[in-house]
């Protein structure tokens, strides 16, 4: 287990090789090097996990300290890695799913000029993500937290010459930094309160979580809310979700890895990791529940109206993360983590499948210009279908089990209620609907694509800009997915099916046992109804599955059977449609309230106030100059004036000497 640091080393090597000597390597080398590094890291992760699980439950939490990172007077922050089942699970997901996506990317990015940069950034991302999940203290967590933000920025900006990519990257980074600000403040308050930033105590020094008892509710609420800001920003929850859909400007593997499978789940990981704090802060939990619920429903609705396939998936990610937040809020941390895992499988699968389709069409991402791809890229069709069924919560796909845990918790756990449960159910139906809407639009019906037009014109896909492609005419055939693209689809497809079987109430308890050392009550929920496959659970499960099927059915009707109906509905409810199309005007509002007003303020301060300050300084200088000029006026050049001045001076001296009584 002490070898866990190797999982950091391998991605670092992957980065270093690519960044420093990538230029001298063969064309495909960057992807291969990075993938091999990921494989090695994954192997270490498996080893570490096995090592961990061999220990008795109460010892499954080990602090591996590499060195003292920030030692200052009265605070020592180590570069320490905390290995327990939760971080081990994240470690496996990040390296495992990451490895698959890396392999996929070697195919997807094979023609990209910026491969080196791409894989270097991807490696940095994995490194940062691993730091995030393995950190044994909040400050180090923040390093990973900021690091993934940076990597996300760099990867979104992969096609940096496109203004929208550059803009999306900046937006993502700024929103994430806002989250970092919140987290930092939370940490400062935490440090002020507890005198440490360690999660868990060591020796005689207690950690943060050891000191929760006896701390004021208000303080805890403040700390947790501030941390929550970071979680909300990173996980794309309302109201800080705006960056995530834009982030689809990056290459599709990036969307799969970062904006679906790993980075965005960091918020959920934080809630799970810091559960002792959150459990002690009921107010914050309420906030989390409702933020999660709003996001879950709102994003699902937006997913319905998207025409870009990656944006559909992006909103679905936001929505699914809303589920996880809701789960954490009602205390079902285990369910949140469970859904996090299955979501990583099927969402990565969905993205990669979408990527195959996009790749096949030379970068076309717009659903209205797809269609009929089932026969063209059957592998994508199959993978998207499997992933769709999983996210729609159709048994026995993985999403069914993990989502139902959450829906059940929303209904029946101590903090749950019927409204939350119904919202969760409804969102499940919506999810099925919009995912399959995309599925049907892309893979069924008539082929609406035009490879000539897609070439270069389409945003998002990624080789080089159009003008550099002009010298390769005739390359207008469908790009068939290569083996290295299909392999990850297959593996993820299997995982998307079986991933949920780790916890089938009443049948398997694998996942519950696994998380037991982390949470006081991973799936016990302190529920009045009880759990473990009780009647209420299966009732909810059946209803949820039916809702999902209904959603799929509706999508089939609207987009395959009766396409005219869909357009009719869109015109019928034009207002609603526009509201969804404009994303509830949230982006517009932010643009006005923050971006434009900030610019105006900056300009006013710069051109107005700062100039005024400067003029004041120059004004002082001008006063001296004026005084000097005035003195020159007095210096008339007339001897008699000078003599008069001497007389005046004499009077002055007399005043001080002879008439000293007068002046004293």
């Amino acid at each position: 287990m002490d070898l866990v640091w190797l999982t950091l080393l391998f991605p670092l090597l992957g980065f270093a090789v690519n960044a420093l000597l990538g230029g001298r390597l063969p064309r495909r080398a960057p992807g291969i090097v990075a993938s091999l590094a990921m494989l090695a890291a994954f192997a270490v992760a498996i080893y570490v996990t096995a090592d961990l699980l061999a220990l008795p439950h109460e010892q499954q939490g080990r602090d591996v300290i590499l060195y003292n990172w920030v030692p200052v007077a009265g605070l020592t922050v180590p570069l320490g890695l905390w290995v327990d089942p939760l971080s081990a699970l994240m470690l496996l997901i990040v390296t495992g799913v990451g490895f698959l996506i890396f392999v996929y990317a070697t195919g997807y990015m094979a023609d990209d000029e910026g491969q080196r940069r791409f894989f270097a950034n991807m490696s940095i991302f994995v490194l940062a993500m691993l730091v995030l999940v393995l950190a044994d203290n909040f400050m180090l967590l923040l390093v990973g937290w900021g690091g993934v933000g940076f990597a996300s920025y760099a990867l979104i900006a992969h096609y940096f010459w496109r203004p929208e990519a550059a803009g999306a990257a900046v937006k993502a980074f700024v929103v994430n930094t806002l989250g970092d600000v919140g987290m930092m403040l939370g940490m400062f308050l935490m440090f002020r309160e507890f005198g440490t930033l360690q999660y868990f105590g060591r020796g005689t020094a207690p950690g943060v979580f050891d000191q929760v008892a006896g701390t004021g509710v208000g303080t805890l609420a403040a700390i947790t809310l501030l941390l929550l800001v970071g979680a909300v920003a990173k996980s794309g929850q309302f109201p800080l979700h705006v960056w995530l859909p834009d982030a689809m400007a990056g290459p599709t593997p990036v969307s799969a890895l970062i904006h679906a499978a790993t980075m965005v789940t960091a918020g959920v990981y934080l809630l799970a990791r810091a559960w002792p704090l959150y459990e002690a802060a009921p107010f914050t939990l309420g906030v989390i529940i409702w933020l999660g619920a709003i996001t879950m429903v709102g994003a699902a609705l937006l997913g319905v109206a998207q025409s870009n396939i990656k944006r559909v998936l992006a909103y679905s990610t936001i929505s699914q993360l809303g589920y996880m937040f809701l789960a954490a809020g009602v205390g079902a941390y285990g369910a949140a983590v469970f859904h996090l895992m299955t979501h990583a499988f099927f969402k990565a699968l969905l993205f990669l499948a979408a990527g195959v389709a996009i790749h096949a069409l030379h970068g076309e991402e717009e659903l209205p210009r797809m269609g009929g791809l089932r026969r063209v890229v059957p592998s994508a069709w199959l993978a998207f279908g499997v992933g769709g069924l999983a996210i729609a919560g159709i048994p026995p796909f993985s999403g069914f089990f993990s989502k139902d845990e959450i829906i059940w918790s929303a209904f029946f756990s101590a903090r749950g209620n019927a409204l939350l449960g119904l919202l969760a159910l409804l969102t499940g139906g919506l999810t099925a609907f919009y995912v399959f809407r995309a599925f049907f639009l892309a893979f069924y019906g008539a082929a609406r694509y035009n490879l000539h037009a897609a070439e270069g014109a389409a945003p998002g896909h990624g080789h080089e800009p159009a003008q550099e492609h002009d010298d390769q005419p005739g390359d207008h055939a469908i790009h068939a997915p290569s083996f290295e693209m299909k392999l990850p689809l297959a593996v993820l497809g299997v995982l998307a099916v079986v991933g949920g079987w780790a916890l089938i109430p009443g049948l398997t308890t694998l996942f519950e046992e696994y998380l037991e050392p982390v949470f006081a009550f991973p799936f016990a929920y302190a529920s009045p109804v009880g759990h473990a496959g009780g009647a209420s659970y299966w009732t909810v499960a059946v209803v949820a599955a039916l809702t999902g099927l209904a959603g799929i059915g509706l999508a089939y009707v609207l987009y395959v059977a009766r396409p005219a109906l869909a357009t009719g509905l869109a015109t019928r409810f034009a207002g609603a449609h526009r509201l969804l199309d404009r994303r509830y005007y949230i982006d517009a509002f932010y643009d006005l309230a923050f971006v434009r007003s900030f610019r105006a303020l900056a300009r006013a301060l710069s051109d107005g106030f700062d100039r005024l300050l400067d003029d004041l300084v120059d004004g002082v200088a001008a006063i001296f100059r004026e005084a000097s000029e005035a003195l020159r006026e007095v210096q008339t050049g007339y001897v008699r004036n000078y003599a008069l001045m001497i007389l005046g001076g004499t009077v002055l001296i007399f005043a001080f000497v002879v008439f000293r009584g007068l002046v004293q």
């Binding site: 020159r632 210096q635 008339t636 050049g637 007339y638 001897v639 008699r640 003599a643 008069l644 007389l647």
Partner: protein, 100 residues
């Protein structure tokens, strides 16, 4: 012997007259004569104080001052003449190219 105050007041009046002369006259010669007046008021003052104190040093000093004044006259006239030669005017108000 007249009281000292008389001498003193006279010398003060002479001095003031000299000062005013310098201030109001434009001709350097007359200004210079006013300055001589100031010096002579000092002479008067010295002499009278010396007499009052029964000492001689004050009167000796008066001689010194006279010598100095004579030297000044020489230099002053030389300068004034030199100016007069180039400008044909000795009005001090015309001499103000240097100012500011």
């Amino acid at each position: 012997m007249a009281p000292l105050a008389y001498y003193f007041i006279l010398s003060a009046i002479l001095f003031t007259t000299g000062v005013i002369g310098v201030l109001i006259r434009k001709n350097p010669l007359i200004m210079f004569m006013s300055i001589e007046l100031m010096l002579n008021s000092a002479n008067l003052s010295f002499a009278s104080f010396a007499r009052y104190r029964n000492g001689l040093d004050g009167q000796v000093i008066a001689f010194f001052i006279m010598t100095v004044a004579a030297a000044e006259v020489v230099v002053g006239l030389a300068i004034i003449v030199s100016i007069f030669r180039t400008r044909a005017s000795v009005d001090v108000d015309d001499v103000n190219t240097l100012k500011g």
